[in-house]
């Protein structure tokens, strides 16, 4: 602890020095080469090997989650050598002030003190020596930005080094991977931009809405899942890192779902609809999406179309289910009909998801 604080104090002093040397925080493009040279010359020695004799005796072993962290491989600069966090902080003090209170920082700092071979910044950004010597050149350090010079493959591979498997087990060939997304399109571990999950935006939902604005707007409709209210997230149904099973039939198996089928996904919160029922309604058992629009609808109960329109797509048995209902059959019409008013068909066929009543083959009971 003490050692860590001393390091920070040293760096803070160095930072003051660089500021006094005329460095403007927000105007890097205006820096003269002379100023930059001064900075590089003032960088502290690495704390990875040369200036660290041995780990402090009472520091615990690295937590298993960080035990495999190492200096990330940057294929563009195979000869670069690690320089250590102190060196990074010399220029990136501001980043550090935000990064320090993330889970990554907390764990990596402990791991670094336990095993000096485990870096902090360089676990994700690769060895920094060449970058420190020429910070304006692209690709000398692993960057997670659009024009950093680092390929998407290297970015994701670096993250996967520690985050392999589990929820990300099916990242390869997922729709997001095939569309060239990087982990850092959705996550930004440099600060707590979100309360949880180290998301790139303030929440999971806001993060997904970066690209899926049209889907996000569906949640503003008259009936919707409680996502705008913050009561759930896209992640409750979808695994953006890749689904364990292929989409196959898009009706039966929706995109990036967390479970094997559409229905099993819905049952996670709607266990009462799960059945299996004494009397089943075939399209319901097949897929909830036959009748419901999962993100939002301007009909009641997320329905795809108004009832009875919805039901009459499939039911044409006789005059009861096959006749046209018109504006004369609503409450203000000449002949009000229960099939159109209020819950419409569902006032009688109330147990439409299935019935457990012996007298319920038509979902009346």
């Amino acid at each position: 602890m003490g050692c860590w604080r001393v390091s920070l104090a040293c760096v803070t002093a160095l930072w003051s020095l660089t500021i006094s040397a005329g460095l403007e925080q927000q105007a890097p493009s205006g820096q003269s080469q002379q100023n930059l040279d001064q900075i590089y010359q003032s960088l502290p020695q690495t704390d990875l090997s040369s200036d660290r004799v041995a780990p402090v005796a009472h520091v615990p072993q690295p937590a298993p989650g960080f035990a495999r962290a190492h200096v990330a491989d940057n294929p563009l600069v195979p000869d670069a050598r690690p320089v250590g966090e102190k060196t990074c902080i010399a220029c990136h003090q501001l980043e550090t002030s935000h990064f320090t209170h993330t889970l990554h920082a907390l764990g990596l700092h402990v791991a670094n003190r336990s095993d000096p071979r485990i870096p902090v910044c360089e676990a994700c950004h690769g060895a920094g020596s060449q970058h420190a010597g020429n910070p304006q050149a692209k690709g000398l350090i692993i960057g997670y930005t659009k024009n950093s010079g680092t390929t998407i493959e290297v970015q994701t591979k670096t993250c996967i080094t520690c985050h392999a498997g589990g929820p990300r087990d099916h990242w390869v060939n997922s729709v997001h991977q095939l569309n060239g997304l990087s982990c850092s399109d959705c996550h930004n571990p440099m600060s707590k931009f979100s309360t949880e999950g180290l998301m790139a935006k303030a929440s999971i939902n806001d993060t997904c809405a970066q690209c899926h604005t049209d889907i996000r707007q569906q949640f503003n409709r008259r009936s919707h899942m409680p996502l705008p209210e913050g009561q759930m997230s896209c992640d409750d149904c979808h695994n953006p890192h890749g689904a364990s099973t292929n989409t196959g039939n898009p009706l039966l198996n929706g995109p990036l779902l967390k479970t094997n089928t559409v229905n099993e996904t819905c049952y996670q919160c709607h266990a009462e609809k799960r059945g299996p029922w004494l009397w089943e309604h075939p399209p319901v058992r097949e897929s909830c999406l036959n009748c419901h629009s999962p993100h939002g609808s301007n009909q009641a109960s997320l329905l795809v179309a108004p009832v009875p329109v919805l039901c009459q797509q499939c039911h044409a048995a006789n005059n009861h289910s096959g006749a046209l209902q018109t504006r004369q059959n609503i409450g203000t019409g000449a002949n009000p009909e229960a099939q159109v008013m209020g819950r419409a068909c569902l006032t009688c066929h109330a147990n439409i998801h299935g019935s457990n009543a012996p007298s319920g083959p038509r979902f009346h009971q």
């Binding site: 602890m1 980043e95 791991a111 569309n179 992640d235 609809k273 004494l278 006749a323």
Partner: protein
């Protein structure tokens, strides 16, 4: 029922052993399994960020162009970093947000749907963090309270990279109606009784209407209260384990149904919208172990879910005096009560595993296996809850009412309820239904050369449905059931009733009525083969092609085989500095085996062994018109596009545009013919300074659904479209077209003395259901034909909302926050037209008045204290 009891009753011993073994290690609900990935509320949907202010120093002194994600979106400006205080070895930081909320007295379902704003009441928010840098331990307590029905609290303790323990509790309201006028006593319970002013089965429409009009407005809602604990951890650097356990309780009531036949002619039947009680519990658990090594990965898990309902059913008294076709001198026994079964107690077990072998050249070979059992064996309710007698008969001389004393050969149309209102009238006392799902899937990915990736997979999915129920009454040896609470007995008399399958009861002189007596057996097999290639023709340009074949073979649908063939083209372009473009096109063609609309004969009485011998002249009628094609399995062609472009017009701006469209054509004469959706969005984001974020979006979305149907004749002898049973003159066409227009903006900015967060959202939706008919015969009421126009009135929903939050710091740690949320909504839904005047139409009684337009404002004042 307590969680422990449910677990002990339902979870197999092996599962419990596995579960508690996992406790020693365990994780949070993550993106791979389970729900509860986010806890927040409408006061702050981000769960804590609303009380933060942007850091004027920003993130970096790097060039602005380097503050973009790989896809080109601007990275968000960070909020001010915490300034922790020391407490022993711990560093403490966080905030408390104490305040008071005030909103209007009126409550509206669309405004309150998932939020319970108080009229006046205290509000609370907090997020307290503790970190111990010496060993990486951390703790967090976070929560927010809007009201008793809308609040959450959670606590987390863990060690970075080692383990994490989380416990939470949350209350989520779900408002179903704010203008319900139930006429019954006992709303929220399972026995709805009429007030003394209404005679069950004996009241006129006017009497019911008077009671309905005088019934007080009630709010019907279901509150969800959930408790959970999540554990996760590393066993070794490669092995992790997790366990998530939750218990959710739902309490409340919702509008529901209550059929007593149709309201034929305004007197022969009745339809009542009842109020269903909700009182249930669901215990969920997810557990598993995962291994991620250099060469192998595996993911083994068990999930279980156990649903328990407090009620088997609920009963309700029926007020209307239902008419009858009783011959002169006879009367009908009044139908006074009905019942509705509740959802059955059910169990869900899911055992799943995945094994992946890492191959050379960035290759992977994986195998996924999953076995799911959904089971319920809940007690069955009797076929009816009537008492005394039902049906038509001649009363005792001098009396106008029927009773048990009138039973006998002289009144063949009168039956005792005791033959049907007991579980002894069932062939089995419990449901005993099982559904098993089996999944096996293998995937292969290879990268033979740097610029080329190939992938392939094969999947088999099987659903096996077991249900041997048969609707047979051992008491009177009748097959079938009493439909719609027995109303047909009293309206038409037994000889004309439906679904009284007494065909094989030789002692019963009544003719057979061919009703359903067996369930649909909904088993299926699905076979899926797919493969694709990705060609990186330059460092930042990738083309992809994927082919997918899916064959779905249901055992009890109109097609024995449904084939999906699809190809998907993908192009990702990132070469141009100021552009990221993603384009996807999918073509799907669905076809399959012969379509047979009459496949459910095996569930009817006529399929019983011996039926044909007993009734050799019986010829089954058509189940439906032969030209009907149900859209999920009909021949279909889909064209789908998905375009996303992220443009960098300036170093501090991003413009994102998306276009998504799907054009689906069904080859159906009767049924769904077309379903098209299209959406386009445009989004502009600007970060001129670290403490200024501005964004604007526009969105357009539309859908078009076309269908055709035909009004058939009862008892049609032929199902051929154009025959007497389904004449072309009775055909009609309908289109449901919906347009959505959205716009909005957000602003977050620090000023010298205060900071502001503003957002505005607008949505206008307009749905138009239009129709045409070949002739008056297409209508329920042919006489309406001249006045039906071209469609229903537009169904519209327009909502404007503004959220404003102003934070005024008093000191570096203490600030004042003013919060205001204004929302104005207008809704017009023809389903509820006229409901503001009356909820009673003939023998139809409605309870829910439907969604209301509204204009509401909420104000909150808070004192925020940073630790």
């Amino acid at each position: 029922m307590p969680l422990q009891s449910i677990l002990m009753q339902t979870v197999p011993t092996a599962a419990i052993g596995f579960l508690f073994l996992s406790v020693a290690m365990v994780t949070l609900a993550d993106s791979g399994v389970g729900v509860d990935t986010w806890r927040a509320n409408k006061l702050d949907p981000t769960g804590g960020q609303a009380t933060e202010t942007l850091d004027p120093d920003g993130t970096s002194w790097l060039a602005p162009g380097q503050r973009r994600s790989p896809s080109g979106n601007l990275y968000q400006n960070p909020t001010e970093p915490p300034h922790p205080g020391d407490l022993s070895a711990w560093q403490i930081y966080g905030m408390f947000d104490l305040g008071y909320l005030h909103s209007g007295d009126q409550k509206y379902v669309l405004y309150d749907r998932y939020t319970r704003w108080p009229t006046d009441g205290p509000a609370l928010g907090f997020d307290v963090n503790a970190e111990r840098p010496t060993d990486g331990s951390y703790a967090e307590a976070r929560g927010s309270r809007i009201s008793v029905e809308d609040q959450y609290y959670q606590a987390v303790y863990g060690q970075a990279g080692a383990y994490k323990i989380e416990a939470f509790i949350r209350d989520v309201p779900n408002v179903l109606s704010t203008d319900a006028r139930p006429i019954w006593n006992g709303v929220g319970g399972n026995n709805l009784t009429l007030p003394g002013s209404l005679a069950p089965g004996g009241s006129s429409s006017a009497q019911v209407a008077a009671v309905s009009a005088g019934a007080p407005l009630q709010r019907l809602e279901v509150d969800r209260k959930k408790y959970g604990i999540n554990l996760s951890g590393y066993l070794t650097p490669a092995w992790t384990a997790y366990l998530n356990l939750s218990d959710e309780r739902r309490e409340g009531a919702r509008p529901y149904g209550g059929p007593f036949g149709e309201d034929w002619g305004g007197s022969l039947g009745a339809v009542v919208e009842t109020v269903k009680p909700i009182s249930d519990t669901t215990v969920n658990l997810n557990s598993g172990v995962r291994y991620a090594g250099q060469s192998w990965r595996t993911d083994l898990g068990f999930s279980g879910s156990f649903y328990r309902d407090k009620y088997l059913s609920y009963s309700f008294q029926q007020p209307f005096a239902i008419g009858t076709f009783a011959p002169p001198g006879s009367v009908s026994a009044p139908i006074t009560v009905g019942q509705m079964s509740m959802e059955p107690d059910n169990d869900y077990y899911n055992l799943h595993g995945a094994l992946t072998r890492v191959l050379p050249k960035n290759g992977e070979l994986s195998l996924t296996v999953s076995e799911v059992l959904m089971r319920q064996n809940d007690s069955l309710i009797p076929p009816t809850n009537c008492q005394g007698v039902i049906g038509i008969g001649t009363p005792t001389a001098g009396s106008t009412q029927l009773g048990l004393q009138n039973l006998g050969p002289q009144n063949p149309g009168l039956i005792p309820c005791s033959q049907w209102n007991t579980t002894a009238a069932l062939s089995q006392r419990t449901a005993d239904v099982n559904l098993r799902n089996t999944l096996v899937e293998a995937k292969l990915a290879l990268q033979p050369i740097t610029s080329l990736s190939v992938n392939a997979g094969i999947k088999y999915f099987r659903q096996k449905y077991d249900n041997d129920y048969i609707a047979y009454n051992p008491i009177n040896q009748n097959y079938g059931y009493l439909t719609e609470n027995g109303v047909f007995f009293s309206t038409f008399g037994v000889p004309a009733s439906i679904a009284n399958g007494n065909a094989l009861n030789a002692a019963n002189p009544l003719p057979p009525v061919i009703g359903r007596i067996r369930p649909f057996i909904l088993s299926m097999d699905e076979y899926n083969v797919y493969g694709g290639v990705s060609w990186k023709f330059s460092e930042r340009n990738v083309l992809g092609l994927t082919y997918n074949f899916d064959q779905y073979k249901p055992t009890s649908r109109e097609r024995e085989r449904v084939d999906d063939n699809s190809i998907k083209l993908t192009w990702t372009e990132r070469e141009i500095d100021w552009l990221t473009l993603r384009a996807n096109y999918t073509l799907l063609k669905q076809s399959g085996g012969t379509y047979n609309g009459d496949v459910y004969g095996y569930t009817y009485l006529s399929a019983l062994p011996g039926f044909v011998a007993a009734y050799p002249s019986y010829v089954p009628g058509p189940g439906t018109v032969d030209a009907l094609r149900k859209y999920d399995i009909a021949d279909r062609t889909d064209n789908k596009i998905d375009l996303m472009a992220t443009v960098v017009p300036h170093e501090d701006m991003t413009v994102t545009g998306t276009v998504r469209g799907e054009w689906s054509r069904n080859s159906a004469v009767i049924g769904r013919q077309r379903y098209d959706t299209f959406a386009a969005t445009l989004q502009w984001e600007w970060q001129p300074a670290p403490a200024t974020d501005l964004s604007v979006y526009l969105s357009y979305d539309r859908s078009n659904l076309d269908l055709s149907n035909v009004a058939g004749q009862f008892g049609a002898a032929s199902g051929v479209l154009g025959s007497a049973g389904y004449p072309l003159a009775n055909q009609w066409w309908e289109g449901d077209n919906e347009r959505n227009y959205s716009a909005g903006t957000t602003l977050q900015k620090n000023f010298r003395l205060f900071s502001v967060a503003l957002s505005y959202n607008y949505l206008y939706s307009r749905g138009l259901t239009s129709y045409t008919a070949a002739s008056p015969g297409a209508l329920v009421y042919p006489q309406d034909f001249p006045t039906i126009g071209s469609g229903f009135s537009p169904m519209t929903y327009r909502v404007n909302s503004v959220t404003a939050s102003v934070i005024v710091p008093f000191t570096p740690r203490v600030s004042f926050r003013l919060f205001d949320y204004y929302e104005r909504g207008h809704v017009d839904d023809w389903h509820y037209a006229g409901f503001d005047q009356s909820l009673v139409y003939g023998h139809e009684l409605y309870t829910d008045g439907g969604p209301q337009s509204y204009s509401e404002n909420l104000v909150g004042v808070f004192i925020s204290v940073k630790l």
